[in-house]
Symmetry: C2
Subunit: 372 residues, 2 copies
């Protein structure tokens, strides 16, 4: 990073089913909470970046930058960015560039998604926009299907069992139980995961993150200081189509974004005390842990079997427990890391967010200093 970028405040809606709230309502609620948390005046905001994927498809609403800007008295410059389920973290990345470029001193970043007003088949079709519309979508694939293929191959290569895999979602639900903003605060046993409805073999209902409404906002600033600062913001990409990858049990974009982020922050993975990673489906959590080097290939499950006191994974509940309002997730992960670092008094945490099956990956590293 060029200079310090402080995470000055965070705010979010509870994630869940908000039939009585529109996309605009969710944005406004998260924005107001972040401004209050940051203790700044709204007119301190020089620019707005909003991450959203499905506004046009599910709410008939594009141009969310202008929509959000009109909520502030001085209507600052605003734009919307999109990289499917990584839209939120890409918004943070864009805000970093605006701050580093000195075009802004203080930026409001929002991630927001309104998904539950549409029927599930409509949502599934819209989400396939994150896939390859020429090469994969015509085969009838959906994202549960794509990650079902990935899980099948992973089980074949590494011998992961159905019982092993069920531990991932059970743990994420357990973590979500203590998160007041999570969609699902109920504990589920691994057996309940294994027994839930089959969605896309071998993935079952409780392997899949849900359809969720929600928004999360943050204030990033060069001038309004705090004990939390961004140390790295890195994007990497991969082919949209699974057919164009050498393997489907490793995500090149996760490897690239994470290694570049550690390099930018000048830390190693051992320095990271808290990690929020993208568990859109349970199998993705394991692969992402391996691609970031926290486990060897095929052994990611051990981090769920043997918990470490020094390193937490998806302490918030992850996408499975918190819900996954796609554009909001990447912003929320970073805010959760900040909460965790404050509580544990540790120094470094990382947020890993990807789009589709990892065609875009964005990793942020946050540093907590006790003397800001």
């Amino acid at each position: 990073m060029i200079g310090d970028i402080f995470l000055t405040g965070c705010g979010q809606t509870k994630f869940g089913e908000w039939w009585q709230k529109s996309l605009r309502d969710l944005i406004e609620e998260a924005m107001s909470a972040a401004i209050a948390d940051a203790k700044i005046s709204p007119i301190d905001i020089d620019a707005i970046v909003i991450g959203n994927m499905l506004g046009e498809a599910l709410s008939g609403q594009a141009q969310l930058g202008a929509l959000t800007s009109a909520m502030l008295p001085h209507r600052p410059p605003a734009l919307r960015v999109e990289a499917a389920c990584a839209s939120g973290s890409i918004a943070v990345h864009t805000a970093c560039a605006l701050l580093e470029s000195k075009r802004a001193e203080t930026v409001l970043v929002i991630g927001a998604e309104k998904m539950t007003d549409a029927d599930p088949s409509g949502v599934a079709a819209a989400l396939m926009g994150a896939g390859d519309s020429e090469h994969d979508t015509p085969s009838g694939l959906t994202f549960p299907g794509i990650f079902g293929l990935i899980a099948t191959r992973y089980m074949h290569e590494y011998g992961l069992t159905r019982e092993d895999l069920s531990l991932v979602s059970a743990r994420h639900h357990e973590n979500a139980a203590s998160n007041p903003f999570a969609q699902f605060r109920n504990a589920v046993t691994p057996q309940a995961v294994s027994d839930s409805s089959l969605i896309a073999d071998p993935l079952r209902l409780l392997d899949c993150s849900p359809i969720t409404d929600g928004a999360c906002a943050m204030i990033l600033s060069r001038t309004h200081r705090s004990s939390m600062s961004l140390r790295a913001s890195q994007i990497a990409t991969d082919s949209l189509s699974l057919t164009q990858r050498p393997t489907i049990t490793s995500f090149a974009s996760t490897r690239d974004a994470f290694s570049r982020a550690c390099e930018e922050a000048e830390i190693t993975r051992e320095d990271i005390a808290h990690l929020e990673l993208h568990d859109c489906f349970s199998i993705a959590a394991l692969i992402n842990l391996e691609d970031m080097g926290f486990a060897d290939p095929g052994t990611g499950i051990r981090l769920y079997q043997n918990r470490s006191a020094d390193f937490s994974v998806n302490q918030s509940g992850g996408l499975k427990g918190c819900g996954h309002p796609v554009g909001a997730t990447g912003v929320k992960q970073i805010c959760d890391i900040a909460k965790q670092l404050k509580a544990s008094k540790q120094q470094y945490g990382a947020a890993h967010n990807f789009g589709g099956a990892g065609a875009t990956c964005c990793v942020h590293i946050l540093e907590h200093t006790t003397n800001p």
Copy 2:
């Protein structure tokens, strides 16, 4: 701007109806042309920003950053931005921030839209995403309807006649006749504009920019020098809903973005030799000229009645003559200004691009130096 940002190369598809080409094909064609024009190696590109509005709605394709990145051997970081019809210029703005932040030395910017595969009512519905889905869309408004209301009010306030207004599109068609990339290269008389089918009273078919496929790309660089450099990149916003504005015959976002851009470039409007402005509908051209101060309120038509040798407006043919593939237009306007400055050997030109009815406006100022 922080330091020099050079416009190192441009490339575009012909704008038109490309039934045999997909969104991906259009992107690849424009990208290749820009790289060839810039005489750089593809691996010199550090980042990609793509502006697009309708990928999800009309092509089932989101995550266009990753899609485009996969066309290059080294898959640079990439993201998509959106601000409705201003998506292209917002992409240029985002690229400026990436360059000024030193996150990139050379950025590929693309604007692309694939519109003609859908039926016109589907396109009109998707375009209403640029409006206010809670306040205006439920009234049955479409964009021709919105600009029809604006034109009616303007005629009432200023006494503009139907015959006056017809001159705008006639001139844009005349200009497009010499642009090999324009969708419509046929001259039309003002009478033909007045006689064309009624679309949304008082606007007729030939007052409206068409539905178009096309892409335009540019290479912006801090290190690959050229005689063209960006001197300003400014965004301003306004309410999405017409009902929340004090007037509908003036666009606050145009006024704000243009004045901020002149301030950033340290020039006055008199320094501008060539202007490409957003004439999505004929009436918009007149209002935008007035909001930028090139004419007094109600007198924009005089710039069409009395042409100036020192100042050109939409020499490319504008959105009416060139076609308006919405995400591509903002990129194309800047490339056209570069061509015009090279040909005329003048110093400054400006590109004005807006989203919806001016809820987002983005203005760029380009400087041509003969000794780069």
